[in-house]
Symmetry: C2
Subunit: 405 residues, 2 copies
């Protein structure tokens, strides 16, 4: 098999851990597989570099920022290659450029455009273990780019897709994907496998195991991804194409997100073009709206509520006060202490009454639901933040997530 | 003018110092010059990286070592470009590769083969300040190489030669080249200018201001180099082609070197091929011999003395014991506590009696001279190490080096 293994910052956080990763890599090689390793920078290193930048400059130029922060992965790939040599195996490090990872030119959040991987393939042919710098690529102008936070996951999946690898193992500090946050619900169960779509919903809902774009990429190129821990030998969770087994499970996981606020524009005249005006204004400012609801009120006036990231709350409120004046609405209210709770499962497609069961569970605990949104495989609700733990626990129990299918 | 400025590790050792370098660079730009900056890594950074390597591996692979240690300069070039932006000027960083610095493949001590500098020229044309990573290049295989310790000086001079710069300013933590070590002789005087050949002799004699290869390169391509401090505005020392003024000065400087030992092979049969045998053995082991003398003794036996670096003393003694047995010599003696004292000056060519004056000065102080070697512009003697300070001081006085020409 050709296996791509990705190790995150905590897994390569110091020389001892790098030596441990080398052992793990060599073990896979000695089991008869070809191995390509993709690495992050040592944990804390990228923050240290960003901090240096902030000490010389208020708004660092993105191209220079990429030149700066792309150094962290070069350090770990060189060190890992050395550590593998010590164990008597051949290994060679590759920068993003040397691995042929070509991206667009949107510095600090570039998108991968193509991967040639010629030198990596050649190294594998020569029996070497290839060690590739994650998080970075090169644009057409020959400048270094970076793929944004968590970009090393994406590098690994993209390299796996380009090399047609049989498996992409993402080593992290948790040993798989859980039904929910085990720190919140002790009964949380590790999933053996999960579909790309479910993983996408969970990733975008704030379960920080895998970067969202890497899951999209894995889905697009059908790369089997396994999430596992570099600190133990537990089997991990396989993220893969949907299969019949998965459909039997109604709810695979419950996620929560406390990083949004609810903005309500009250007394909006109920006429065409007003909603467009509100959301055009927001998108023109690159603010991402998540949930939207509209309550039709009395006398042709409506209330329009939506959620935005906490970091954009102030900006959004300002923009809305301007819109209120322009369209003759009543006012703007921002509610800070909210949480979005979501249940996710491909089984929802074929099971009815899931939403009703969720809402009843909330009602029974006296938890008020402020907003609802649904997709084919997800139901999200917004509630008061103080009920987050209670809601997650109750839903985990209601849908019997602690039991394997 | 087109000016290349090189700043060493202490000059860019922290964010505050980087901001200061930015100011200096911008001042030169605002005076109407085109500026290319060449940087070292922050002081201590390269050692930190080497230390990491030693923690994962006993004998790090040279290619991986270069991948590792070349990151330090990428950090400083990005930070300096950002700091220049803050001052309202355009700047762009370039790795060795991006600047087109092509070297051979001798990792960790590569030699520059050519510099295209296309992107740097383009940046200058666009009114930008170009910031180039020192110490690094790229080989034909597209792998990163480094030029050895002090390699950033060489990068600066080579870039200056390739761009046909009018001046190459080497900023360091001393403010020029002195007649001798000012810590040893308070009367030591900063030289306004010095010839390439004199600088070469001084550099190779252990005056650590400029890396030897960079001076050779400057001489070859006739690049005027100025040594000055980044911590003050003193005028520094110009290293340049020999001119008539320089010839007037008999002795420009006095240098000392305590890092050699004297090895003597005694009772060597005085016949052809014996000396060749001794020095072939040494050079086959990559040990560099500096001074050599042969004393013809009684009965067709001679003593052969030579100096080698302290670090090679043990190895050399071993080799010589083998040779002694083979050629039927008497024995090997190693003298550790010696110092080489040298006076340097292009004026020696046209002035006679310099050596006699030097030896008399030593005799007057009762300092025994063990070895002598001379070149056209240099006289070196080996003495007991305990007289180092005394000899340097006396020679400084004898040749009135405290006085400007």
């Amino acid at each position: 098999m050709l296996i791509v293994q990705k190790y995150g910052g905590t897994s390569v956080g110091n020389p001892e851990r790098i030596r441990n990763v080398a052992k793990r890599v060599v073990r896979t090689k000695e089991a008869g597989h070809d191995v390509v390793v993709v690495l992050s920078a040592m944990s804390g290193e990228t923050d240290k570099l960003i901090n240096l930048a902030n000490q010389v400059c208020e708004n660092p130029d993105p191209r220079e920022m990429d030149m700066l922060v792309s150094t962290g992965e070069r350090v770990t790939i060189a060190l890992l290659a050395m550590a593998i040599h010590t164990l008597g195996h051949k290994a060679q490090s590759f920068t993003g450029r040397q691995a042929g990872i070509v991206s667009d030119s949107v510095h600090t959040k570039a998108r991968i455009e193509k991967i040639s991987g010629e030198r990596v393939k050649q190294a594998l042919k020569e029996g070497k273990i290839a060690v590739v710098a994650g998080f970075q690529g090169i644009n057409e102008q020959d400048d270094v780019t970076t793929l944004g936070r968590g970009g090393s996951d994406l590098s690994a999946v993209a390299v796996a897709a380009a090399l047609k690898a049989d498996l992409c193992d993402i080593y992290t500090d948790v040993d798989g994907v859980y039904t929910t946050d085990p720190n919140m619900v002790p009964q949380a169960r590790k999933l053996d496998k999960i579909s790309y779509d479910e993983m996408l919903e969970l990733a975008s809902l704030g379960a920080k195991v895998l970067q969202t774009r890497s899951v999209e990429f894995a889905k697009k190129y059908n790369v089997p991804v396994r999430v596992l821990s570099s600190f133990n030998d537990n089997p991990g969770t396989l993220v893969t194409r949907e299969d019949a087994d998965m459909e039997k499970v109604v709810v695979s996981g419950v996620a929560y997100d406390k990083n949004q606020v609810k903005v309500t524009v009250t007394g909006v005249p109920d006429k065409p073009g007003v909603a467009a005006k509100i959301f055009n204004e927001i998108s023109a400012n690159n603010i991402i709206v998540d949930m939207i609801i509209q309550n039709i009120g009395e006398g042709g006036l409506t209330d329009m509520s939506f959620t935005v990231p906490k970091t954009d709350a102030k900006k959004t409120a300002e923009l809305m006060r301007k819109v209120v004046a322009e369209v003759g609405a009543k006012g703007v209210a921002v509610k800070e202490d909210i949480a979005k709770i979501s249940i996710v499962g491909v089984g929802m497609r074929s099971h009815s009454g899931v939403a009703a069961k969720m809402f009843s569970a909330m009602a029974k605990e006296g938890i008020n639901i402020m907003m609802i949104s649904t997709s084919e495989i997800k139901i999200s609700i917004v509630i008061d933040a103080k009920y987050t733990e209670l809601a997650v626990r109750v839903l985990h129990e209601t849908f019997e997530m602690e039991k394997a299918a």
